[in-house]
Amino acid sequence: MDLKFVPSICSYCGTGCGVLFEVLDGELVGTLPMKTHPVNHGKLCIKGWNLHEHVNSPLRLKHPLVKTFGRFTKVDWDKAIGVATDRLKAVIAAHGPDSVGILVSAKMTNEENYLAQKFARAVIGTNNVDHCARL
């Protein structure tokens, strides 16, 4: 019998509400609003209330997948990054850097977003950077 309460931040949107995960015997069984969190003051929207469901969902992507001949195959990260690099290089060689766009997210950290735009501008050579709030 092991019950833990793990504070975290909701990953569904940029608001960043404070949540508390209820973990029973290592299994995530519920999500609660953190009552004293300065962002949400003990309130959540329906997405935050159901965070544990997407963590436990059998549809959740847990591994990099590469699509070959119309089918997804499970690969390791090195292989996935290798495939992405080769394809990006091929597309840039054929159509120029502005044929690539980078989408970032309101739920990544500032630093990750900075890195992503740096990668777009300095490595790929395009200003095509956008984020999930405009999708």
Binding site: L3, F5, E22, L24, G30, L32, M34
Partner: protein
């Protein structure tokens, strides 16, 4: 060690309880925490508040997986009322939960616990003009003409974002299949949800069940005065059936399980006549 920390330490050590639910400070936030014999040294970090979570709801989750678990928890008055209701509805076995009472009474001698009842948030001017002031008494709420009262409630309900927070946080909402998610009862796919039916279905379910803890109102992102609504429902239950929710060990009058009704109605005179 405070006396409560000492007491919980002893209870765990002697095996009076297997697990004890209280709070501890984590990065400046008072968060619920389960204290156990295996990690008994943690008891010297135990605090009793000031934030309020439904510890009894966690107790029901433990009990459904470990029916024989002996559970301890710190209990304010509202926690204790909820425990009574949960026992009446067979969510916890009688005597399964042992409580250390903690006092939320406001006093100049100690910082009082956080509770919307002890520290009501004043209503803003839009709410006062168009909605229902959560801090008014039932008698005050009944003084306005019927049509205006209805309009004001509809204004409140129209703000609902159907987060189900009121149900999710409620210590006495434990149904496996909740009516609020039944597509034949409540239409799906639009906001606000079907009003007032969404809120009235829940209000009817809270009759003889809601222990007036206010957690639903605290959790409502739309600041709908839910506590006031359920107080009204329970006042009717009290007037009609003489049933005091949360105080005893008898089933409320609406229990339909078993061979016969659990209580007989009182004369209808008690209902306010309009």
């Amino acid at each position: 060690m405070t006396s409560i920390q000492q007491q919980v330490h002893t209870w765990l050590e002697e095996g009076r309880v297997d697990i004890f639910l209280a709070y501890r400070m984590v990065e400046g936030h008072p968060l619920p925490h389960a204290f156990t014999r295996e990690r008994i040294d943690e008891t010297d970090t135990l605090v009793t508040g000031p934030a309020r979570y439904s510890l009894e709801k966690f107790a029901t989750h433990i009990a459904s997986r470990y029916p024989d678990a002996k559970i301890g928890m710190v209990a304010r008055d509202c926690n204790q009322r909820a425990l009574n209701v949960l026992q009446v509805w067979n969510q916890l076995k009688p005597g399964q939960v042992d409580t250390v009472p903690v006092n939320c009474c406001p006093s100049l001698l100690k910082p009082h616990a956080d509770c919307s009842y002890l520290e009501p948030k004043p209503a803003g001017h839009v709410k006062l003009e168009r909605g229902q002031d959560p801090n008014q008494s039932l008698a005050q709420a009944d003084t306005l003409p019927r049509a205006e009262r209805f309009d004001r409630w509809m204004y409140e309900f129209s703000k609902c974002i159907k987060c189900y927070g009121c149900r999710n946080i409620c210590p006495v909402c434990f149904c496996k299949d909740c009516s609020l998610e039944h597509p034949d009862l409540i239409g799906t796919g639009h906001l606000p949800p079907d009003i007032p039916i969404f809120h009235l279905v829940r209000a009817v379910h809270m009759a003889g069940r809601c222990i007036d803890c206010g957690l639903c109102e605290d959790a409502c992102p739309a600041e709908i005065p839910l506590r006031l609504l359920y107080r009204k429902v329970n006042a009717i239950v009290k007037d009609l059936f003489g049933y005091e929710t949360g105080s005893g060990d008898t089933l409320p009058p609406f229990s339909i399980l078993g061979d016969k009704p659990t209580m007989s109605p009182q004369p209808l005179l008690a209902v306010s006549q309009e």
